[in-house]
């Protein structure tokens, strides 16, 4: 369509992927449309809501504000890459503590939490509330998200975390 095409290669959830795309394609659209990873959501167009948060080389980014070409050669982790053969403790935390209602902001909130806990494994309630400033949730009122993060932190800090995890589907 006259738009510049670029071949990008990156690692997404541990798998190397290569696609030829328009240079202007946003990372979130690349993930959703090219790779079918629809767990990452688009909630706004001004980088406020955080529904599109993914990890880029371990750092939380809003994938609506990153071009796919900027992720070239980097490692992207989306919600689909969070769990292994068991739920990740952060998923456990959100489930156990009712950290979600409609679920739309949830993948982004969990990825933001992943980053938060990687930087601070034992955040205070205040640090969690401030640390999640990049996400907007309209359903929960946030308190259950705070509890979810605290619960996840406990699980991650506990040596018995694998025993506590639950297998699903």
């Amino acid at each position: 369509m006259g738009e510049l095409q670029t071949t990008v290669t990156m690692t997404v959830n541990g798998e190397r992927v290569t696609r030829t795309i328009e240079s202007r394609v946003l990372l979130v659209h690349f993930l959703r449309e090219e790779l079918g990873l629809t767990g990452t959501h688009v909630g706004c167009d001004t980088s406020q809501c955080g529904a599109c948060t993914v990890l880029l080389d371990g750092e939380a980014v809003k994938s609506c504000t990153v071009l796919a070409v900027q992720a070239m050669g980097k490692a992207v982790t989306t919600i689909e890459g969070l769990e292994t053969d068991r739920l990740h403790p952060i998923q456990e935390g959100f489930w156990a503590k009712h950290g979600l209602q409609c679920g739309f902001c949830t993948p982004g909130a969990m990825m933001a939490t992943t980053y938060l806990l990687s930087q601070n494994p034992n955040p205070t309630e205040e640090q969690i509330r401030v640390g999640l400033d990049g996400i907007v949730c309209r359903c929960t009122g946030y308190e259950t998200i705070v509890r979810a993060v605290q619960h996840a932190a406990q699980l991650m800090n506990s040596s018995t975390q694998t025993e506590r995890s639950t297998e699903v589907g």
Partner: protein, 784 residues
């Protein structure tokens, strides 16, 4: 078998949602799918002189561009579905695409369909529209004045309807000892469900059926309305909403976008997807509230409230939205007396059209507007006569022995003990000590405030007979089919359409309890008109009260039938069979013979030996029409501190004591209350839509409109009393809206209490630091 009702079970729906496996409408991808982008008006009011589409059409990858003129003879108008009686309501002709006049910023004039969304956006930018801009009006009270521009030529003074209820109260007010007058601006709010709206339409040439996946709270209402607009018979139209990312009322309405997409899918023989941006969500997805209210309260010097009356100018936006006219009338005017025994009340409502985004239900829908005015007026009255606001409440709250209580407009409040919730709230906040602390702090120049809201609301919408009487163009009953499979597993089909409220779990708990089986053996199906016979959807805190009632009745039908089959098998009479914990047994002889529910289910399907007159299979369907609304109530207390140097308001404590009837899942209930609180507190302190004089939305993004964030709040303190609804089979009332209804006046009352030493009686919401600071400065200046 442990009891499952009342347990904080983890949610079934979360298993997919926490893993990124939900299926929201925008996640749909169909073979051959193309993408729609709307071309929207940048003017609030303008004549459309010409629409130039050639450049857009010529862009490679563009399939078609359609304008209002292309569609106007193909499609019906988008109707409103709520016509309050005796209101002289005038319809606002609403074409899916505007063809001669645009009436608000965002009104769509053309649609571009392209191979991918980026091209669709490029092409939309190439559509050139010649507009002749006209004067606009945005404030509902201004709009009814002489010489104001008309939104619709056929609607004189922009008054789409005038609705009033209650007698003329001039005599009462003329003779009253104390009359308090206050004007309130119930500001416009923007719902901001985190999932933007989306629609995917697919036409199947073989079956001549159109399927529409859409972000809706009520797929069957959507099908009904879309059928009329599109001219497709209902049995050839399927509407599906799988996962919907929040609604809060904004996904009730039938919007132009899904109409256009459906039409285009049939025309182009390609699946068409449309997804709004957040910017579009701000501009065109329905807004909430927006009243100018002139309120008067009459009372005695010793604190008895005698009458309340309100004249309200309700802003409906440019077109009457699906439920728009019902919100500021039925859901507002009939409950302005709140939780108080007020002998006389009246409401006089002007439904006004303006050059702004259409207004429809937003969490609470009418009841927050009513609750705010009465709760604020009680505080203003208390201040006027020098009484404690708690004492005035205690004096005027409806007494527990008065239920069922008939309010001045004939609503019958079902059950309650309002004093009890207030008493608990006072204990929790340690009221007497807190007042003393407040006095001490003031001496140090620190200002804290304590605000109350002792509310009642009407929900569990509602009896269909009443729906008809109040002009809702539909029923409000709910359907349920409980299908037991041969192995004893159960699928439940509900006409309610939860979208985050957790009823895939709550409903399973109801069935699990009644059938004595694990919740994991029960699947709840919702949101698909092809799988569910009929239903009215999720809004008005009706899902568990009405949809749950239907599920209960359907389950009971199954138990009745299964009991007959079990009796036959056990070779005893039906009256000798008892069913508990999933087992049928002979009364008094439990050791003798037992049959599990699963075994009976298999017998029902094998049908080798059924009692006389009993049909094979095991399935129950019920249509439950409630006898009354339900009336949750409670007492909320906010404690705030106000920094008079900066105007900043900090919420220190928030106590919510709610009575929502029986509780099925306390974890989900707490989540609903928290979410409502944050939206209600958001209205009090942060949120407010602003238009400029030309009708431009100044708060059109999450940068400009303050949706609350985690760091704005302390931990909430919640408690419950339980007064079951006497007319509802589950004794439940409803919890989705209580927080949003109750919290707004509690916060504002608290801030006004904090500012009372400055003689400040009222400030318009949201109470931003700037407004508070200005008021304090003005008060100080006035004294000096």
């Amino acid at each position: 078998m442990p009891q499952v009702m009342g347990q904080a079970l983890k949610r079934h729906e979360d298993i997919r949602l926490i893993r990124g496996r939900g299926q929201y409408t925008d996640d749909m991808k169909l073979p051959g799918m193309v993408y729609a982008k709307m071309v929207r008006s940048p003017y609030a009011h303008a004549k459309i002189a010409a629409v130039h589409v050639a450049q857009a059409i010529n862009l490679p990858g563009v399939l078609a561009v359609f304008t209002g003129n292309d569609l106007k003879d193909e499609l019906g108008l988008i109707p409103t579905a709520w016509i309050p009686p005796n209101s002289d309501l005038k319809m606002t002709p609403h074409p899916a695409l505007a063809y001669d006049t645009v009436r608000y910023v965002g009104d769509a004039v053309a649609v571009v369909i392209a191979e991918n969304p980026y091209i669709a956006q490029d092409a939309a930018d190439l559509v050139q529209v010649d507009y002749e801009p006209l004067r606009a009006v945005t404030n509902p009270r201004d709009a009814v004045g002489p010489g104001m521009p008309l939104v619709h030529q056929e609607i004189d003074r922009n008054i789409a309807f005038h609705w009033s209820v209650g007698p003329n109260l001039d005599d009462v007010f003329n003779q009253a000892d104390v009359v308090v007058k206050q004007e309130f601006r119930q500001q416009r709010l923007i719902p901001n469900a985190m999932e933007p709206r989306a629609a995917v339409a697919q036409y199947n040439q073989a079956t001549d059926e159109l399927t529409l996946w859409v972000t809706t709270q009520n797929p069957h209402i959507h099908r009904l309305l879309m059928s009329g607009i599109l001219g497709i018979p209902e049995h050839k139209l399927r509407v599906v909403a799988i996962d919907v990312g929040g609604g809060f009322g904004s996904k009730i309405a039938c919007y132009p976008d899904e109409v256009v997409v459906s039409w285009a899918a049939r025309r182009l023989r390609r699946p068409v997807k449309w997804t709004e941006t957040r910017q579009e969500n701000f501009m065109v997805t329905s807004h909430g509230r927006d009243h100018v209210q002139e309120v008067e309260l009459a009372g005695t010097k010793d604190g008895h409230i005698q009458a309340v009356r309100v004249k309200a100018f309700s802003n409906l936006g440019a077109y009457l939205s699906t439920a728009g006219p019902g919100v500021p009338t039925i859901l507002f005017g009939l409950i302005v007396n709140g939780a108080y025994h007020i002998p006389q009340a009246s409401a006089d409502v002007y439904g006004v059209v303006t050059h702004t985004t259409p207004v429809d239900a937003y969490r609470g829908a009418g009841r927050p507007e009513a609750t705010y005015l009465i709760e604020r007026m009680v505080d203003r009255f208390a201040a006027t006569i020098g009484m404690d606001p708690v004492a005035v409440r205690e004096l005027n709250l409806i007494e527990a022995k008065a239920f069922p209580y008939t309010n001045p407009f004939g609503l019958q409040y079902d059950s309650g003990n309002y004093q009890e919730t207030l008493k608990i709230a006072l204990d929790m906040v340690d009221y007497a000590n807190l007042r003393q602390e407040q006095v001490q702090l003031r001496k140090d120049g620190k200002y804290i405030g304590i605000g109350f809201s002792t509310y009642v609301e009407m929900c569990g919408l509602g009896p269909s007979e009443v729906a008809g009487a109040v002009g809702f163009q539909g029923g409000l009953w709910e359907s349920a089919t409980v299908r037991v499979h041969p192995t004893g597993k159960v699928t439940v089909f509900t006409g309610a359409s939860p979208h985050g409220q957790g009823e895939e779990t709550t409903f399973a708990q109801i069935v699990a309890e009644e059938l004595g089986m694990p919740v994991d053996d029960i699947e709840i199906v919702h949101g698909d008109t092809a799988r569910i016979s009929m239903g009215w959807g999720t809004y008005g805190s009706r899902t568990t009260a009405v949809g749950g009632g239907a599920i209960h009745l359907a389950t009971q039908k199954i138990i009745q039938k299964a009991k007959k089959i079990a009796a036959h098998k056990l070779e005893v009479s039906e009256s000798d069979v008892v069913f508990h914990d999933g087992v049928f047994e002979v009364q008094g002889l439990p050791e003798l013979r037992q049959l599990t529910f699963q075994a009976v289910a298999l017998d029902a399907y094998l049908a080798w030996s059924l009692p006389e007159g009993i049909e094979p299979a095991l399935e129950g369907t019920a249509f439950y029409d409630p006898k009354n609304f339900t009336y949750p109530f409670g007492a909320h207390v906010a404690v705030v501190s106000v920094d008079t140097a900066t105007g900043d308001v900090r919420l220190m404590r928030y106590i919510a004591v709610d009575d929502i009837g029986n509780i099925i899942n306390p974890m989900i209930v707490e989540g609903q209350i928290h979410g409502g609180l944050v939206q209600g507190i958001g209205q009090a302190l942060y949120e407010g839509a602003e238009f400029d004089d030309q009708g431009q939305l100044l708060t059109g993004s999450l940068l400009d409109y303050a949706v609350p964030k985690a760091r704005f709040f302390p931990r909430f303190e919640t408690a419950h009393t339980v007064t079951p609804s006497p007319h509802n089979p589950l004794g439940v009332k409803g919890v989705g809206e209580t927080g949003a209804i109750a919290s707004t006046p509690a916060i504002v009352n608290a801030v006004m209490d904090a500012l009372s030493p400055f003689g400040i009686e009222d400030l318009p919401m949201p109470l931003t630091p700037e407004k508070v600071w200005q008021a304090v400065q003005q008060a100080k200046g006035g004294r000096a």
